[in-house]
């Protein structure tokens, strides 16, 4: 076969990942059939494979790039849901299988719209010989537009409408809401102003997994700036947080702890 389709579609992209080896469309199929967990998929590996595939070509295939971005963002979304199951359920009622349905639906929808756009392009080309006048004829009478009496309260309502803060819609399910790191920085600093040390696990008990993760980031931040010292007796044991100046007398502190 001569090169009728010189560029393989994104779904034919060959992948060689730890959890999966084969073309992208097979990976999608397995995801849709739930034979692979989204969390097992190395998205960075897929991106790398795609970039290599691009580098092999002389020209950039923008359509393939667009399709790839849609696929990858859908995959990332699936993966993010799987990583935070509770939060995902809180933010959105979608179950993982529903999310997979959603992926297939979105993919199909986007593909149909691309096809519709291609139809419009063809149509535009076919209609290029049709010339018609835009706007009024040179010797046409002027159109008078008259408006019935209006209520002034409609103006007030329109402005009130513009002053309503927007509802959090559409993309909210994509974004896991992270509390600001600064919130925990301030909280831990205040805590250490009152006490010389505290137990991280006790302090974040009862927070959501996302909040705990952000709190831990805050901890690392404070450690980096030298404000605190961290200690842990063994992996998975409680993390002790203390003022940095306490670190100077570690010998007996650690033993007496």
């Amino acid at each position: 076969m001569p090169a009728l389709h010189p560029r393989p579609a994104v779904r034919d992209l060959e992948l060689d990942l730890d959890a999966f080896e084969g073309p992208f469309d097979l990976l999608l199929t397995l995801l849709l059939k739930e034979e692979i967990e989204p969390r097992e998929i190395d998205v960075a590996g897929i991106v790398l494979a795609f970039l290599e595939h691009l580098a092999d070509r002389d020209e950039v295939d923008l359509e393939a790039c667009g399709e790839f971005l849609v696929l990858i963002s859908a995959l990332l979304e699936l993966k993010a849901r799987a990583l935070f199951p509770e939060e995902a359920a809180e933010l959105d009622e979608l179950e993982p299988e529903e999310a997979a349905e959603e992926l297939a639906r979105r993919l199909a929808e986007y593909r149909r719209m691309k096809e519709a756009a291609a139809w419009l392009v063809e149509r535009l080309a076919a209609e290029s010989e049709r010339f018609f006048r835009l706007g009024p004829a040179p010797l046409a009478p002027r159109i008078e537009r008259r408006l019935a009496d209006q209520s002034a309260s409609a103006l007030a309502d329109a402005l009130r409408g513009l002053a309503v803060p927007p509802p959090n819609v559409s993309l909210s399910h994509m974004a896991l809401r992270f509390p600001p790191v600064t919130q925990f920085l301030e909280r831990f600093r205040a805590l250490l102003a009152r006490r010389r040390r505290f137990d991280f696990d006790t302090e974040v008990a009862g927070l959501s997994r996302v909040e705990q993760a952000v709190a831990f980031l805050a901890l690392l931040e404070l450690r980096k700036s030298g404000e605190i010292a961290l200690s842990q007796a063994a992996p998975f044991t409680p993390i002790r947080v203390s003022r940095a100046d306490e670190e100077r007398i570690p010998a007996w502190t650690a033993r007496s702890a």
């Binding site: 084969g22 469309d25 097979l26 999608l28 199929t29 397995l30 849709l32 059939k33 923008l62 667009g66 971005l69 849609v70 963002s73 297939a104 639906r105 979105r106 993919l107 199909a108 929808e109 986007y110 593909r111 149909r112 719209m113 691309k114 096809e115 519709a116 756009a117 139809w119 419009l120 392009v121 149509r123 535009l124 076919a126 209609e127 290029s128 010989e129 049709r130 010339f131 018609f132 006048r133 835009l134 706007g135 009024p136 004829a137 010797l139 046409a140 009478p141 159109i143 309502d157 009130r160 409408g161 513009l162 309503v164 803060p165 927007p166 509802p167 819609v169 559409s170 993309l171």
Partner: protein
């Protein structure tokens, strides 16, 4: 119903056809049968008969002026034979340089009906702001209220100019999406077939 009847008796169809062609030559957009019937104070069926007469006379190959049914009404345009001469004198500003992004956006708005920018962005996977702005500027789409009342995002619909530029009698003349390519189910079953073929 006295005076319209009298009018009809006084006004044979070829006279009505003269009036209709006069209206069409000055109109700035396609005119529907009911608009023509209102303006001529005549019967819609008689207007349709007059339009058929005019369609015979103003048709491709026979006349430089062609009557076409487009965008929910009737309008005159130049014959295709005159396209080269028209291209020398007139620009087609509406169509010049419509980007791929704009065409995808246009397809979404045409097929899904009134749509907001966030909805378009969700389907295309990228922000639609500049595509929407360029389509509004070309007059191919227009604002159509806001999503669910105040505070909602502005929604857009296609304009009659869109139908006219693309030569559509109405939005119903768009091809069904199912005819254009794989549906969701087809896509899924194709994927599963591939998987099974590989597994065996």
């Amino acid at each position: 119903m006295d005076s319209p009847l009298r009018l009809i008796a006084q006004n044979p169809v070829d006279r009505l056809a003269h009036t209709v062609e006069a209206l069409l030559v000055v109109a700035s957009a396609p005119l529907s049968v009911s608009e023509l019937a209102d303006a001529t104070v005549d019967d819609p069926e008689r207007v349709e008969t007059a339009l058929r007469l005019l369609g015979e006379r103003y048709r491709e190959g026979r006349s430089g002026i062609v009557l076409e049914q487009v965008a929910g009404g009737y309008a005159f345009r130049a014959s295709r034979d005159a396209a080269d001469a028209c291209a020398r004198l007139f620009e087609r500003p509406v169509e010049r340089g419509v980007s791929q992004a704009a065409l995808e956006t246009l397809a979404i708005v045409a097929y899904l009906g009134p749509c907001s920018r966030p909805e378009i962005a969700r389907i295309r996977g990228v922000a639609a702001d500049s595509a929407v702005a360029s389509l509004v500027e070309r007059g191919l789409i227009a604002e159509a209220g806001r999503e669910s009342g105040p505070g909602g995002a502005i929604r857009y619909r296609t304009t009659p100019l869109f139908e006219r530029v693309f030569g559509l009698e109405s939005l119903a003349a768009l091809p069904r999406l199912d005819d254009l390519g794989a549906t969701e189910d087809e896509l899924r079953s194709r994927l599963i077939e591939v998987a099974e073929a590989r597994a065996s």
